[in-house]
Subunit: 109 residues, 2 copies
Amino acid sequence: MSAATHTHDLDQLPDQISEDELCELAELFKIFGDSTRIRILFALFRSEKNVTEICEALEMNQSAISHQLKILRTSKLISARREGKAMVYSLADDHVKTIIAMGKEHIEE
Amino acid sequence: MSAATHTHDLDQLPDQISEDELCELAELFKIFGDSTRIRILFALFRSEKNVTEICEALEMNQSAISHQLKILRTSKLISARREGKAMVYSLADDHVKTIIAMGKEHIEE
DNA sequence: TTAACATATGAATATATTATCATATGTTTA
DNA sequence: TAAACATATGATAATATATTCATATGTTAA
């Protein structure tokens, strides 16, 4: 890990945080804490995809995927738009990538 | 969010990742996805603490705390040392802070 | 406007997780 | 060494969660 990265980390250190915020945080991480959801997120890293494409990428049935997409959408981690019959999902913002990247750094040590 | 932060984020973008790694990631985030555990981690941000002190900080019973400490320790997010009768716990490394900081950034938007 | 396609959703089941209780283990001090 | 203190742990019960099945909703094309 680079020195620059460390500097960044400490810049963002949350010194003060309310109990409510901690619960919100736990809720957020809970979303990432499921392999189906994280696989969906990762599938969307490369490019936006519709539900059928996500099902194919993960080799899982459509209902299971739709249920998880709803959770991801409610958490504002992904966004959706309609394109004809299909719903196209994409990552909502770069924080998703960042959070996963941080996690990846940790497990790679 | 600063431009520098964004640069950092994209530096760390995991372009390639195995199914196994994705599951490991989910397991890691699952640890953060519980309010008791994240409150413990946050309590250890300021300073290392023994079990009794953590119980007092969180106003929770000792058994519940010990069970969660075990999970955090198994996940290598905290480490422990004995000090007399007490076990003193502390954060294992800065990744914990980083990951929580990233999550905090997300929910604050 | 009906059929085919794409996605969403409610209910049910299976599984996982958390906190509690009771108690065991480990450490110090009287 | 026995008692007191500190922590860990197994079993249980309560709760939460994920997937599946059946079906509803929404969209396009025949």
